[in-house]
Structure formats: C-alpha cells, structure tokens
C-alpha cells in the first residue's frame, strides 16, 4: 500500500517534469524557433500560445516579434554644399524571417551591429549627396520671413526643394533594405531624429544671425530718427502755417473794418468838406495845444479883433 503510493507519486512527479519540460509559452510579443541539437526543426512559431516540444532534445529560441528600435550613432557628415552637420538617425525594424535571423545573426544584439554597418553608410551617402536644405526642408512651402518694418529688405534667393527630408529618408531605407533581407530583417523606416550644425559651423551661423539682427535693429533706429525728424518738420510747418493764417485773417478783418470806416467817414464828411475841416481843426487845436504851448497872437486875428475897438476893425 505504502510502496504503491510512493510509485504513484514518483510517476506523477516524472510526468509533471516531462510536461513542464516539453510545454512552452509563446508570448504575443515573441516568436520561437525550435531547434534540435542546433538544427532548426519545423516552422517558426509566430502565433502566441501554448506549444509542446520534445523535452531535453529540442530547445526553443525566442525572438521578438514586435517592432524594434535601432538608434544610429550620431556623426558628422558633410553635405553637398560642404557644410558639416551632425546627424542622428533612428530606425525601426522587425524580424520577419526568424529562421534566417537565427542562422545569420542569432540575437538582437548582434543584429544591432549589422544594422549599424548597413544603415549608417546609407545615411552618410544620402546626406552627402544632397544639399543641407534638402535634408532640412520637407516641402517647398513658402516661408514666412516677414519682418515688422522690414518689408523692403530682400530675402535671400529661395532655393527650390527637389527632394526634401521625407524622400531622403525613404531613399536611405531603399538603400539599406535589400542588404538586410538576407538577415530576415525588415527595415520599417529610417528617420532623422536630429540634425544640427557642428560646433564651428554653428558659431558662424550664430554670427550671421547676429549680424542680420543688428542690421534690422539699426534700421529700426534710423527709422525712428527719420520719423521723429519728420514730425519735427511737421511741427515747424504747422507753426508757420497757423501763425501766418492767423495774421492773414487778422489783416483781412482789419482791412474790411478800415474800408467800412473809411466809407462811413467819407459819406458823412462828404456832406460838407469845408465844415468838416473847420470842425476837425478846432478839435485838433484843443487836442494839440496845452499849457506847455506858447501862443503868440496878433491883434489882427479874428479873436482879438475887438481888442482894439468894438467896431472890430483890424
């Protein structure tokens, strides 16, 4: 009884060990190549789920099934117009033929090395073959370089983009892909993550940007001066205009008044000019003569004609 139980337990344990050794799970993100003493057996298991193999004889090799990342080594590359730029690329790839992959590169780490060897030169080729602007721009979209107050400054002759970044990366992909299919790798895309001037070029670009700004600043300043002078000029002109207009109006008013008064006087005094001159003369006498005046009168005068005799004979 007791030994039977022991045997049963042993059998169960052995069976369990076998089951555990032969069963294996393939995750959603994995695919498996089964090998027997190093030789590939059967089709790769690309579907996830529970599988069985011959324990201890067959072994499983797991490979990722999902999209993998490749990060390029950033490096200096001269462009067609001899500008050195710093280009950092990345690519995405996946294992489409795990058997090939297993036989040629074996693991993802060495695959990264292969990818380096193939993608980097392709990037280099394409960057070198093209002008910098082709790598930077995407389309021929009209750039808005409008600067407030600088409508008249001519911009640099614009360059027409023939290829553009998207096509360049596509070409990199086209160049690299054929060399990678023999490793069972599909290159999904290659992207330029960063692109920058190398330090020396950057400094000179900064210099250019600064000069450009300074020139704009100067323009604003001199515009300011010009505008201010114009306003001062306007001020002087307006001052003269206002004062002269006022003078003119005043003179006109005065002239009219003079004319009117002259007319009135003429009308009135024209009645009897003799009487007017008599009246006016008398008026002037009393205005012009005062106590400081000395008067010498002859007895001949009208006033004194009675002084010598009542008959008034002179």
């Amino acid at each position: 009884m007791k030994s039977k139980l022991a045997i049963l337990i042993v059998v169960v344990v052995v069976a369990a060990v076998f089951v555990f050794a032969s069963a294996y799970v393939v995750d959603e993100t994995e695919q498996v190549v089964v090998t027997q003493f190093g030789k590939v057996v059967g089709k790769p298991k690309t579907e996830s789920g529970l599988y069985f193999k011959i324990p201890f004889i067959q072994s499983t090799n797991y490979f990722p099934k999902n999209l993998l990342q490749w990060d390029g080594d950033p490096g200096q590359i001269p462009t067609l117009d001899k500008t050195y730029i710093w280009v950092d690329t990345f690519a995405r790839w996946r294992i489409v033929d795990p058997i090939k992959f297993f036989q040629t590169v074996n693991n993802t780490l060495s695959a990264q090395g292969r990818l380096d060897d193939i993608i980097d030169p392709a990037v280099r080729n394409l960057i070198t073959e093209n002008r910098l602007i082709e790598t930077v721009r995407k389309t021929n979209r009209e750039l808005d370089t409008y600067e407030i107050g600088l409508e008249d400054i001519k911009e640099r002759p614009s360059y027409t983009i023939k290829i553009g970044r998207e096509k360049i990366t596509k070409k990199i992909l086209e160049q690299a892909q054929p060399k990678l299919s023999k490793f069972g790798i599909e290159l999904v895309d290659v992207k330029i993550k960063r692109i920058n001037y190398v330090e020396q070029v950057r400094d000179s670009v900064y210099g250019r940007m600064i000069a450009e700004r300074k020139q704009i600043a100067e323009k604003f300043r001199s515009e300011g001066k010009g505008e201010a002078q114009k306003i001062r000029g306007e001020k002087e002109r307006d001052l003269k205009r206002i004062s002269s207009e006022a003078y003119r109006t005043a003179q006109e008013i005065k002239g009219k008044a003079d004319a009117k008064s002259t007319k009135l006087y003429a009308e009135a005094y024209g009645l009897d000019p003799d009487f007017y001159s008599f009246m006016k003369t008398l008026e002037v006498y009393s205005d012009a003569l005062d106590k400081d005046s000395s008067l010498v009168l002859s007895t001949d005068s009208e006033f004194f004609k009675y002084l010598k005799g009542y008959s008034g004979i002179r």
Binding site: V26, D27, E28, E47, G49, L50, L67, L68, Q69, V136, R137, D144, T145, G149, V188, K193, R194, N196, Y197, Y206, M209, I210, R213, I216, A217, F220, R221, G224, K225, E227, A228, K230, I231, E234, K235, L239, S243, A250, I253, K254, A257, K260, S261, T262, L264, A268, L271, D272, F275, Y276, S286, D290, K291, D292, S294, L295, V296, L297, S298, T299
Partner: protein, 344 residues
C-alpha cells in the same frame, strides 16, 4: 507569488496556534503536529486556496486588464473585480488607459535652482536645438501629452513604446520646424504644435503603437543663447524707435495747440480792432451828421459859436500867451523860448 501566499498561510496558521515567536524548528514541529489530523486534505486545501487567490483580481477605474492565456491575448477586462484562470495559465497586465502621460523635450521642469539651467548646455539643449527652414538655428522645447488608446497594440506591437514616442516626437518636431522660418518658429508656435501633432499621430498609428497624442504643447521658442542679445536688441530698437517718435510727437503737441491759441488771439484781436474802427466811424459820422444838420440852418453863427467856444476852452489851458499888435514886426527879441521852459 505562490511563495508569498505560502508564507502568509503559515503566518496565519501560526497565529491560530497562539504561537508568537516564529522559531524555525519549533515551527516545523508544530506544522507536523497540525498536519497529523488533516493530512493530505490540508495540503489539497492549501493548493486550492493558492490557485483560487490567483483567480480574481481588481482593475482600477482608470485602467483595463489585458489577459493572456499561455501568452496569447484572449480578452480585455474592464474596471471592477474580474476572474481569470489561475496563474500559470492566464496572466493579466494592467494598463492605465485613462491616465494622460507627459513627456518633455528640450527642457526639464525641475524645481528650484535647476530651473535656470534648463535651457543651457547638455542634452536638453541638443534636444531643443533645431535647424529652421531658412537654415537658422532655433531653440524649441515642447511637451507631448499622450494616452494609451489601444492597450493591445501598446503592449504587444512595439518593443519599447516610450522610446519610440520620444524618438518620433523629435523627428516629427524637426520635420515641422525644418519647414518653417525662424520667425515662424518664434511667433507661430500654435501652428507648429498642431502640425507636429498630426505628423506624430500618423507615425504612431503606422507603428501600431496604440498611443493617442492628446496634445503637443510648445514651450517658449527662442533663438540660441548667443544670438538672444541681438534679438533683444531688435526689440529694443523697436522701442527706441517708438520712443523717438513719441518724443517728437510730444514736441509737436506741446507747440501746436499753443500756436493755435495764439492764432486765435490774433484773430480775435483783429476782430476787436474792426469793431472798434467801425463803431467809432459810425459814431463820428453820426455826430457829424447831426451837427451838420443844425449847422446848415445857421451856418455863420454856428461857425462863430463853435470857434469861440473852442477858444474859450482852449485859451485858459495854454501856458504863455503873447498878444502882439499887428503893427509890431520884429517880435523875436521879446521871446526867450529855451530859457523860459527851463526856469519855470
């Protein structure tokens, strides 16, 4: 996990037995003692509890559970208490689908004194430094906010989703900025954010990353540090320009209204003069006419009267009066004009 449960179980059993210090050999002894009555039944119970405990799990309100049976995706479970086959057969991965994740580029929102260094030097600056379409260099920091919209794709389709997101964001932003002038980069951030979001979303969809970009938020775009003073100089120059114009306008405004007032005064003065002239003329004329009307009636007598009246008024006012006979011819010696005035 299993082991944890085992230990927990043991501890519970210890407590049940009133045992406080868990010494190893005593524990084994006690275990054996307890085991004696129940025997294999207890072991079975123990295993059942173990399996049962891994059969239910809770999903928080902001997440879903992705269930895999032997590695294969079978279902997605919703928030609440859920059941699955025991561990080893089914596995659940919780994914926070409602949480919005944030990734920062070209700066780091650090606290305190680190904030100042955020733009200067190092990796951060390199992320933000970009070539613009007019081959200038701009500094473009931004934030990407994203959500997991498809947990299946998110978990299984891409090896390192976060890495993909970071690299793609940079590539997308550079692609967009590469097609903009430096002016646009500085002034039209909103547009850039929208376009970059579209580009990035498209790429992420192509990669089946299961990520939904909620928004791309642009931080303050600028030119690189060495160039910044000259950009500020332009702003200053604009200010200076305006200042000069305002000063000139000030001068203008100071002078012109005053001059207008002056002009008004001159004109009013002239009007006053005119009124004065005309009124006087009218008065004089009226007076003369009135006088004349009477005068014509008795010309001679009026004339005499006027003459004499005038003299009557005038003569007393005069200083020296000399009356000389008409026969007297040489009068000059009698008069001593200069001296007279001086002495009196």
């Amino acid at each position: 996990m299993n082991w944890d449960w085992e230990r927990l179980k043991k501890q519970q059993e210890d407590k049940g037995g009133g045992m406080v210090p868990p010494k190893m050999d005593e524990l084994v002894e006690r275990f054996k003692k307890i085991k004696l009555p129940g025997g294999p039944l207890l072991i079975l119970l123990f295993i059942l509890i173990l399996l049962g405990s891994s059969m239910f799990y809770t999903i928080g309100v902001d997440e879903v559970g992705v269930v895999q049976r032997f590695g294969k995706y079978v279902r997605t479970s919703q928030p609440g208490l859920n059941f699955k086959l025991p561990s080893g057969i089914e596995k659940v991965t919780k994914v926070k689908v409602r949480r919005v994740y944030k990734e920062e580029f070209g700066f780091r929102s650090l606290r305190g004194d680190d904030r100042r260094r955020a733009y200067s030097g190092g990796e951060n600056t390199n992320v933000a430094l970009m070539l613009t379409g007019d081959l200038n260099v701009g500094l473009v920091p931004w934030i990407v906010q994203y959500r997991i919209k498809d947990p299946y794709n998110f978990l299984f389709k891409v090896h390192d989703v976060k890495r993909l997101l970071i690299d793609m964001s940079e590539a997308a932003m550079r692609l967009v900025v590469g097609d903009r002038s430096i002016n646009e980069v500085i002034s039209k951030r909103e547009q850039i954010a929208i376009e970059a979001r579209n580009v990035l979303q498209k790429e992420l969809d192509n990669a089946e990353s299961g990520i939904n970009i909620v928004t791309i938020e642009m931080k303050k775009t600028n030119v690189p540090e060495p160039v910044q003073p000259s950009f500020n100089e332009v702003n200053q120059a604009i200010q200076e320009k305006e200042k000069m114009i305002y000063q000139a306008k000030e001068d203008y405004n100071k002078a012109i209204p005053a001059a207008r007032g002056e002009a008004e005064r001159t004109i009013k003065g002239a009007e006053g003069y005119a009124l004065d002239r005309v009124n006087r003329a009218m008065g004089d004329a009226a007076r003369f006419k009135a006088l004349y009307a009477e005068y014509v009636k008795a010309k001679d007598v009026t004339k005499r009267r006027l003459y004499l009246e005038t003299l009557k008024d005038l003569l007393p006012k005069l200083g020296d009066k000399y009356i000389i006979d008409s026969e007297q011819k040489n009068v000059l010696p009698l008069l001593n004009f200069g001296k007279q005035k001086g002495e009196k």
